[in-house]
Amino acid sequence: MADMIRRRTPGARLLRAGLYALLIVAALVYLMPLVVMILTSLKPLDEIRAGGLLTLPQEITFEPWIKAWSEACTGMRCEGLSGYFVNSIRIVVPAVAISTLIGAINGYALTKWRFRGSELVFAMLLFGCFVPFQVVLMPMARTLGWLGLASSVSGLVLVHVVYGIAFTTLFFRNYYVSVPDEMIAAAKLDGAGFFRIFWRILLPVSGPIITVSVIWQFTQIWNDFLFGVAFAGFDSQPVTVALNNLVNTSTGVKEYNVDMAAAMIAALPTLVVYVLAGKYFVRGLTAGSVKG
């Protein structure tokens, strides 16, 4: 776009060097917290106390990681994050699968089988993207109690599915709108039914949007803290809640390296997904925001 600063005059070159310098400094600033987190998690405690946030560890130790995983205290218990990490997986996997499936079917029905009021239905579903969850906390706590799902993993799965449908429906609806209607009309003439058309025509072209939806839901649910802290019991707390407890538990010496290792453990799954599939992550962010 901006070819003008590519002219090879000395001034333009200087400008370009400055441009790169700015961008690299900015990148270092954004990276700094992650670097500090990793460095601190690999240092023994006495090195940390000696100061030097950014100094490399003199001796690398994995002790903090092991402790954060299996021994550190989160409130009353001292079993590390491992159990809570598993809880998060048990919440995330079904919640992501179910909400994506429902979103796909909704998006399909709302675009390829429009009926009277279907736009209104979509608008009503969409509002779920915007509602501040504080408004639903108390009623949800009561409902989960009545359903016998209070403090359970299933209860959290239900909550995440219920409030994830708005987003997944939005993703699939906006994607399916661009699939040509002629293909559907032809299939209908051939006598194919609702599910057959979905299975044979829509699903085979849905790869990208399924990826977007899965990644979006995965990051949202893995990173959730509010629902976890409000609805989980001791045995169903997700890793974010456990991390917060771990950091706020004071048993004598404050072990900053263990805190940082624990933060890394909680962050790794979403970071890995981001690095592997960043393109889809960005698409989900923008699709989830820039409307349809």
């Binding site: 776009m1 790169y20 500090v36 504080q134 906390l137 803290f225 933060a263 979403t270």
Partner: protein, 309 residues
């Protein structure tokens, strides 16, 4: 407006044809119906439910003795609510403005045919993939006066360097801004970059031929084109700000004292730990009003734009 509207006719036809034909026609509605029911109950029903709770004297447990708007009167008389609401304005305002400026600058800089653009973009955006709890824990460590950035800079020889904001009641709210900007500004950059890429190149070349300088082109031509992006970014960022809960819990815990309380933490503390369900519900409804105050103008302009465009 309900999907059952045309059922009688459909049923009459189905009687003449077949049951499966009827099912086939009703199927689209049937598959969407559960989601609609879920939304009606878990979103709209709950909003109403919380509103009703906010009109009662509920304390430890929900109960339904009508108390009029007494909880709202209590809320507005509460010093702590005023702190929380003021904090939201300060935090939200700074967060939105800084994210916009930083995001726009980074996007424009990145849009100059930069080598390794992809890598840089990845670096600017990765904090968005992290949990706000992780962000809070990291920044709490960085901002720790004894061992964090302050200690590091003092260690470099700047003994007078003072950065103890985290433990200063007047400054702690700004630590939330720093951490939140770090988390979300890359996302705004991505939005702007996508916007920049969609602007027609010929617009640029024409202006350049006319002899307009680069800053002038950006200010006069590019920025106006990006207006819709600015609009959505403001909308999303203020939405994030109103909902901010995790970050406060992990970074400051609302402290020192309640100096960094936001409406979201105020609501949580009163509803779940202080046994003030009525008051907590009133604060939740106020948050909903805040979201609607942003959402309605946004939707209005969106719909109008669509009609005209």
């Amino acid at each position: 407006m309900t999907p059952t509207h045309s059922l009688p006719r459909a049923r009459a036809q189905a009687g003449r044809r077949s049951l499966s034909g009827f099912l086939e026609r009703a199927l689209p509605r049937l598959v969407v119906a559960p989601s609609l029911a879920v939304a009606l109950f878990f979103v709209y029903g709950y909003m109403l439910w919380t509103f009703i709770l906010s009109l009662t004297k509920s304390r430890m447990l929900p109960q339904y003795d009508f108390a009029g708007f007494a909880q709202y009167a209590r809320l507005f008389a509460d010093e702590r609510w005023h702190v929380a609401a003021t904090n939201l304005v300060v935090f939200g305002g700074l967060f939105v403005v800084i994210c916009l400026v930083l995001g726009l600058v980074l996007a424009i800089l990145l849009d100059q045919r930069i080598r390794q653009e992809g890598a840089l973009r990845t670096i600017y955006l990765y904090p968005m993939a992290l949990s706000l709890i992780v962000t809070g824990v990291v920044w709490r460590w960085l901002l720790n006066p004894g061992l964090g950035i302050q200690a590091m800079v003092r260690g470099w020889g700047f003994e007078g360097f003072d950065f103890g904001w985290l433990v200063d009641p007047d400054m702690a709210i700004y630590t939330l801004v720093i951490a939140a900007v770090w988390q979300a500004s890359g996302f705004v950059m991505a939005l702007f970059l996508a916007g920049l890429r969609s602007i027609d190149d010929s617009l640029f070349k024409a202006a350049a031929l006319d002899g307009a300088s680069l800053p002038r082109i950006y200010w006069r031509i590019v920025l106006p084109c990006l207006r819709p992006v600015v609009f959505s970014a403001v909308m999303i960022l203020s939405h994030i700000a109103i909902k901010s809960f995790d970050l406060v819990m992990a970074l400051t815990g609302g402290g020192p004292g309640y100096a960094t309380d936001l409406p979201a933490t105020y609501m949580y503390v009163h509803t779940f730990t202080r046994g003030q369900i009525g008051l907590g519900s009133a604060s939740a409804i106020m948050m909903l009003c805040g979201v609607l105050a942003i959402l309605i103008p946004y939707l209005y302009s969106e719909l109008r734009g669509r009609k005209h465009g």
